[in-house]
């Protein structure tokens, strides 16, 4: 039986149609059900709880501004949605409302070769942008796992992480400035200082960093100016098998601290089930056998990459690593965006039968010194969960660099958990939420951050966001309250409803 859905007042709907045009205001069930989930584990058994009341597809910042003003006037929630590819529920509606789908705003507006920037609308995909830049000898090096499909608006909204951030930085470094429609409908440009293409300024508060990672709670990005960089002459990916995880952990640190400037990425996988068919794979890896694997990727001019490559290959060999060969290294690196979710490859029932499992990726940021302990605790939590509920499966952990421009110091401790979504129910979902909370607490207790790139929005972990941030969370609430007096922007996210509770308000009457 189809769940009855609510709707917004007809008068508000009429106003939305005047703003966007009738064709771009969607109230049909299909439009709404198809904009409920993002790429996060989804309680599909509760799908109807997360559908918006109406979907709008604006084309300009002015339209977005008018929509937000309308939302304030009518006290309607606004939920921005870019690609819908996020892994932290930022764009999942919690209270219905107006879902603002910005994908029509997908133009590359300008490439400024002199000042090395491109100005784009938020619906532009990074891979499309790099393809566009190719004739100019440029790339846009923001490369998350979702590189092929995520959109720049979402990268701002999540303060995302890039796989090649060790050399090129992350969206917070690469997005130089951007235009925001604030929760009041006002339009503002934020960056480092006031110049659109200025990378670093000391003029005033650096507001860009406030909005990076706001998860749609502080407005909607409607344009961005991003840094574009010289296309590298070459790349060198290299994958090595190591004896065990601790050996890998030690050499990971060594590689990161060598001082190699062309180092885009280092990584450590704890167990490597043979994932994809390669020719003659079986002489070094048996399918189903866990093989810890360490490696790196370098990008730059050939002189630098060769020199750095020699250094790091020597380090890894001397540490006892066994090079897995060019074919494996090239295959793994070339497919880096494409294999983070394969439901049938991740999914095994207790009887070993293949099942489709969603692949959740927990993405804590953890100081290097704490990685071994955190990894052990993570594995314990998930294995215990999976013993109690067959719909969950411990897959693997992986370590990636976290900071920008230099690997080392802190890392993304990625934990992969398989989830049999079709068989979720309220009990197993509650267990999942508790596990998320436990995983988040582990990160906090070890001096880390709950999320390095997806966001801390999901049920369970969001409860302990105040624990992670301490008093900074109070500042966060004040900012939210100041910029969004009516709590229209993505209400309910990140525990920010607390900003409107009477004991928090300065103007309590």
């Amino acid at each position: 039986m189809a769940t009855a859905l609510r709707s917004i007042p007809d008068a508000a709907l009429g106003e939305l149609r005047s703003i966007c045009g009738e064709a771009f205001v969607l109230t049909d069930r299909s439009a709404r059900f198809n904009r409920a989930r993002v790429s996060t584990a989804f309680p599909v058994h509760r799908w109807a709880d997360f559908v918006p009341d109406v979907v709008v597809l604006p084309a300009t910042a002015a339209e977005v501004s008018d929509i937000v003003r309308l939302a304030n006037a009518w006290s309607l929630p606004v939920v921005p949605r870019a690609g819908g590819t996020g892994i932290s529920d930022g764009a999942r509606p919690l209270r219905g409302g107006i879902l603002v789908d910005i994908k029509r705003m997908d133009q590359i507006l300008e490439v400024d070769l002199a000042n090395r920037t491109a100005t784009v609308q938020p619906g532009v995909n990074m891979r499309v942008l790099t393809d566009y830049l190719r004739p100019f000898g440029l790339i846009y090096p923001d490369q998350p796992g979702s590189y092929s499909q995520s959109l720049i608006g979402g990268r701002i909204g999540t303060n995302g992480w890039s796989m090649v951030g060790g050399r090129y930085g992350h969206p917070r470094d690469l997005v130089v400035s951007f235009e925001m429609v604030l929760p009041t409908g006002d339009i503002v440009r934020v960056g480092d200082g006031g110049g659109k293409s200025i990378r670093k300024s000391s003029s005033g508060y650096q507001l860009k960093h406030l909005f990076m990672g706001h998860q749609g709670t502080l407005g909607i990005a409607t344009e961005a100016t991003v840094e574009v960089v010289t296309r590298p002459e070459c790349e060198l990916p290299a994958y090595f098998a190591v004896e065990d995880w601790m050996a890998g952990y030690r050499v990971l640190g060594t590689i990161a601290h060598e001082g190699v400037a062309t180092l885009s990425r280092v990584f450590l996988y704890d167990g490597w089930r043979l994932e994809y068919p390669l020719s003659e794979p079986l002489d070094f890896i048996s399918p189903g056998q866990a093989v810890p694997c360490v490696g790196f990727a370098l990008h730059g001019i050939e002189e630098e990459v060769r020199g750095a490559g020699k250094r790091l290959m020597r380090v890894l060999s001397q540490a006892g690593g066994r090079y897995l060969g060019d074919e494996v290294s090239r295959f793994e690196w070339a497919s880096r965006y494409d294999r983070y979710i394969q439901p049938l490859h991740l999914g095994r029932a207790r009887d070993g039968q293949v099942i489709p499992m969603y692949g959740h990726a927990q993405d804590a940021a953890i100081p290097y010194s704490e990685l071994p302990t955190v990894r052990q605790k993570y594995e314990q939590i998930v294995r215990s969960l999976s013993e109690r509920h067959e719909v969950f499966l411990f897959e693997e952990t992986a370590v990636h660099p976290n900071g920008a421009f230099r690997a080392g110091g802190d890392y993304n401790m990625e934990l992969r958990v398989g989830i049999w979504e079709q068989r979720l129910n309220d009990e197993s979902w509650a267990a999942w939420v508790k596990a998320k909370r436990d995983l988040a607490i582990v990160a906090i207790e070890h001096g880390g951050s709950i999320s390095n790139g997806h966001g801390t929005v999901c049920d369970g972990e969001v409860d302990v966001l105040p624990l992670e941030l301490g008093h900074a969370f109070e500042v966060m609430k004040k900012i939210k309250r100041t910029l969004d007096p009516n709590n229209v922007m993505n209400p309910g996210k990140m525990g920010l409803d607390a900003a409107y509770e009477s004991e928090f308000r300065d103007d309590d009457t």
Binding site: R306, R314, G325, F331, G352, V354
Partner: protein, 91 residues
């Protein structure tokens, strides 16, 4: 030339290569079909479809190698150089 014939779209018998894994075509690993009996059944995949996927993957990976940079260096070649230099230093 031999065009498409339904009779040609046969699925060869699998050869077990490891626990849970089989091969029907050289170099292409497949999951043991016994593991897809209960919850998810294998699809009918004619030979042309299977070959199409294998070729598409190879072409895709090749295109990816020049997406971000102009060329990929050989780690094996660099490692050989490193090994040679280490041996020379030992002498």
């Amino acid at each position: 030339m031999r065009g498409w014939l339904l009779a040609d779209q046969i699925t060869p018998e699998p050869t077990r290569v490891a626990n849970g894994w089989v091969m029907r075509r050289d170099g292409v690993l497949e999951v043991d079909p016994e593991l897809m009996r209960t919850y998810v059944r294998q699809q009918d995949m004619p030979r042309w479809d299977f070959e199409r996927i294998v070729t598409a993957r190879q072409d895709y990976l090749q295109s990816m190698e020049t997406h971000m940079a102009d060329r990929v260096l050989s780690g094996a070649e660099i490692l050989q150089q490193v090994t040679r230099e280490a041996a020379d230093a030992d002498r």
